[in-house]
């Protein structure tokens, strides 16, 4: 039998798709901001913090990088309530993504910090800056500038990975596809259209992040 693709059957569900799209975008933006903030603190702690703290951060990074996101998500959503921390689907999704991106960005930003020449830190110190001022003005900014492309592609990987949050019934783009195909039985069409939506999101995000990088870090590096 020859199957005929019927994309028209998706049209009645456009609002479901739109809501899913918005959820995915918001979830990505919020957890990106939080994850990069976690990464900045984590990287600073690893590079300059006391030894025990650096060790804790290193363990966090390795645990997250060496386990699947879906397991982290299930742990947060199903496991944490047994400790008394009850989360909604959206909260669990946000928390899991932040923890995940936080670990990767800690590692990325740390590489940037470690690439800071020792002489720059001495120059900052010699200009009577405090340790925190040196960290902020002399170390972190160039570290971000240097690692921005890596950070940007990690953000996109995390966005694509967010499709897994549909598995705890967080109502994202993938959830929308699941919902539609359960109603109209047009599984392939639904997933194909949603896959294209992710592709467009990824391409748009890449362009936006590149533009943001150019704006945040003007000028050529040596």
């Amino acid at each position: 039998m020859i199957y005929k693709l019927q994309f028209v059957d998706l049209l009645p569900y456009w609002d479901v798709l739109a809501r899913g799209l918005v959820f995915t975008i918001v979830l990505t933006c919020v957890s990106t901001a939080a994850g990069v903030a976690v990464g900045t603190c984590g990287a600073s702690a690893r590079a300059f913090g006391p030894r025990w703290l650096a060790g804790v951060v290193a363990a966090y990074v390795e645990i997250i990088r060496n386990t699947p996101f879906i397991v982290q998500l299930f742990f947060v959503y199903f496991g944490l309530p047994t400790l008394g921390l009850k989360l909604t689907e959206a909260e669990a999704a946000f928390l899991a993504m932040t923890i995940n991106l936080g670990a990767y960005s800690t590692e990325i930003i740390r590489a940037g910090i470690e690439a800071t020449p020792k002489g720059l830190i001495e120059a900052g110190v010699s200009l009577a800056m405090t340790r925190m001022q040196v960290l902020r003005h002399v170390v972190l900014k160039p570290a971000f500038q240097k690692t921005w492309p890596a950070l940007a592609s990690q953000i996109i990987i995390v966005m694509l990975g967010s499709s897994v949050v549909s598995q705890i019934s967080a109502e994202d783009l993938t959830y929308a596809a699941n919902f539609i195909q359960s109603r109209n039985f047009r599984a392939f069409e639904a997933y194909f259209v949603v896959a294209l939506a992710y592709l467009l999101l990824a391409i748009t995000a890449r362009a936006l992040l590149r533009g943001l990088g150019a704006r945040l870090f003007p000028g050529a590096r040596s």
């Binding site: 002489g119 001495e122 120059a123 010699s126 200009l127 003005h137 002399v138 500038q145 050529a220 590096r221």
Partner: protein
């Protein structure tokens, strides 16, 4: 009371004692050139003066403030002690003006506009008015080093430490940097330079310090010392360089 007084300073890195009781005093307006072979301890001595290295014993006093990492407010000290490095160490993410403005802004809390005016004045002083908005990567080594000098001057230091500031430069770029330092000396800035530029030390210096194996081997007026070295080590050193 001398502006900078270094007395019997000792410093060891593990087994290796690099400073074995060094004493030097620097009066206001002095231009002190420290010379000597690599490994003689001259850079370490300079770095002890603004606390980038800690000394093990002896005393260093700058403008009546003892330099003692455990007790002194090192930031307060460093506001008055500028430093220029061999490798320039310009901040790559900031323009020339941005490099000069950073410390006045974050350390002294100067406004953006004032800081920019200050940067303009300092960059003019080193002959780089037209390079205010250039990035370090767009500047030659000589220009970068002049920006680094402007950056140090912007904090209005009482003494400026120069650690082999021409050693990383191509030969044709050395003079533009030395001319700036000479001008500073003529304006009365107190300078302590670790240098290999013997002619510059002789013509501009008010005092020459020859270091050898972690000690001050000879010191005195540059012209006298170079014309008639008292020890064979200095004679040999001058012979090797010239």
């Amino acid at each position: 009371m001398p502006l900078v007084s270094i007395r019997d300073v000792r410093k060891r890195f593990g087994e290796n004692e690099v400073l074995k009781g060094v004493s030097v005093s620097v009066e206001k307006g002095d231009v002190v050139a420290i010379i000597g072979r690599s490994g003689s301890g001259k850079s370490t001595l300079l770095r002890c003066v603004n606390g980038l290295e800690t000394h093990d014993s002896g005393s260093i006093v700058v403008d009546e403030t003892p330099v003692d990492n455990a007790r002194t407010d090192m930031r307060e000290l460093r506001k008055h002690v500028g430093m220029v490095f061999q490798q320039f160490n310009l901040f790559p993410h900031l323009t020339a003006a941005g490099n000069v403005m950073l410390a006045p802004r974050v350390v002294n809390g100067v406004s953006e506009k004032e800081a920019r005016d200050l940067a303009a004045a300092m960059l003019a002083k080193v002959g780089l008015s037209e390079k205010m908005d250039a990035w370090p990567s767009q500047l030659s080594g000589g220009q970068q080093q002049r920006v680094a000098i402007a950056r140090a001057l912007a904090m209005n230091p009482k003494v400026l430490l120069c650690d082999e500031i021409t050693s990383a430069l191509d030969p044709e770029l050395v003079n533009e940097v030395l001319r700036v330092v000479e001008k500073l000396a003529a304006e009365g800035m107190t300078l302590i330079l670790v240098t290999h530029e013997m002619r510059f030390a002789r013509d501009v210096g008010t005092k020459l310090v020859f270091m050898h194996q972690g000690m001050v081997h000879e010191e005195g007026p540059p012209k006298e010392l170079m014309a008639a070295p008292r020890t064979p080590e200095l004679r040999q050193f001058i012979g090797a360089i010239a």
